[in-house]
């Protein structure tokens, strides 16, 4: 629809028209600001913890593990130069031989969530699988942060979900 609108605007004399074809879905999936009635709805993007330690594929686990411990985290992520998520290290993986390369012990292709996903649905997904935290990325794979299960209860208590 937007290509037609953009062309029509030009035909009406508008000089600089840009078609953001990926549109609203893309914008919201990146966790960018939203206006409107849905802006008050709790979504994962509002709960993301961005201070999770990150490392590179070719660094040693010991270095990443030390950074994680110093920051009070029991997990870490692996990113490329553009901030795209490549892998995830659990507490056990961080306890691997410190001289091992991160790439050898990370979980490749972990499950990720988008920042515009709902709290209740995500909590249910995590409970079913007994998952304590999830990774949040934008639609282009850029890592945004971690959301922990207990954060979801703060955002939307179980009672509130039951009444909804």
């Amino acid at each position: 629809m937007s290509p037609r609108a953009a062309s029509r605007l030009e035909s009406l004399g508008f000089r600089a028209v840009y078609d953001y074809a990926a549109g609203k879905a893309d914008w919201f999936a990146a966790g960018l600001p939203v206006e409107g009635e849905a802006a008050a709805t709790p979504v994962l993007g509002k709960l993301v913890r961005r201070d999770v330690p990150s490392g590179r594929l070719d660094e040693q686990v010991g270095d990443l593990s030390r950074r994680a411990e110093a920051a009070g985290w029991d997990q870490a992520v692996v990113l490329d130069d553009r901030g795209v998520l490549l892998g995830w290290l659990s507490q056990d993986a961080l306890r691997s031989d410190p001289a091992t390369e991160v790439a050898a012990v990370m979980l490749e292709g972990p499950v990720t969530f988008r920042p515009n996903e709902g709290i209740a649905e995500t909590a249910s997904w995590m409970d079913t699988r007994q998952v304590r935290s999830i990774l949040v990325t934008s639609s282009d794979g850029t890592f945004l942060g971690v959301v922990r299960r207990q954060d979801l209860d703060v955002a939307e208590p179980a009672g509130a979900r039951a009444e909804a």
């Binding site: 609108a5 030009e10 028209v17 840009y18 549109g23 609203k24 914008w27």
Partner: protein
Amino acid sequence: MPKEILRKEAEKLIEAGAQVLDVLELSEYRESHLPGAVHIHLRRLAEKAREKLDPTRPVVVYCHDYA
């Protein structure tokens, strides 16, 4: 011909003061839209565009997605 842009460029243009146009249904716009977006449904564009938008300034147009 209008230039198709990706999110990063849309962000830059909006930050620089470009006008933002949502051409979805009004109910969809009311539910959620990009910050500062003006709503004109595609069918009413010819009638409303010059009333709600400045033709001399950049406009970023969007709908839901590529569909």
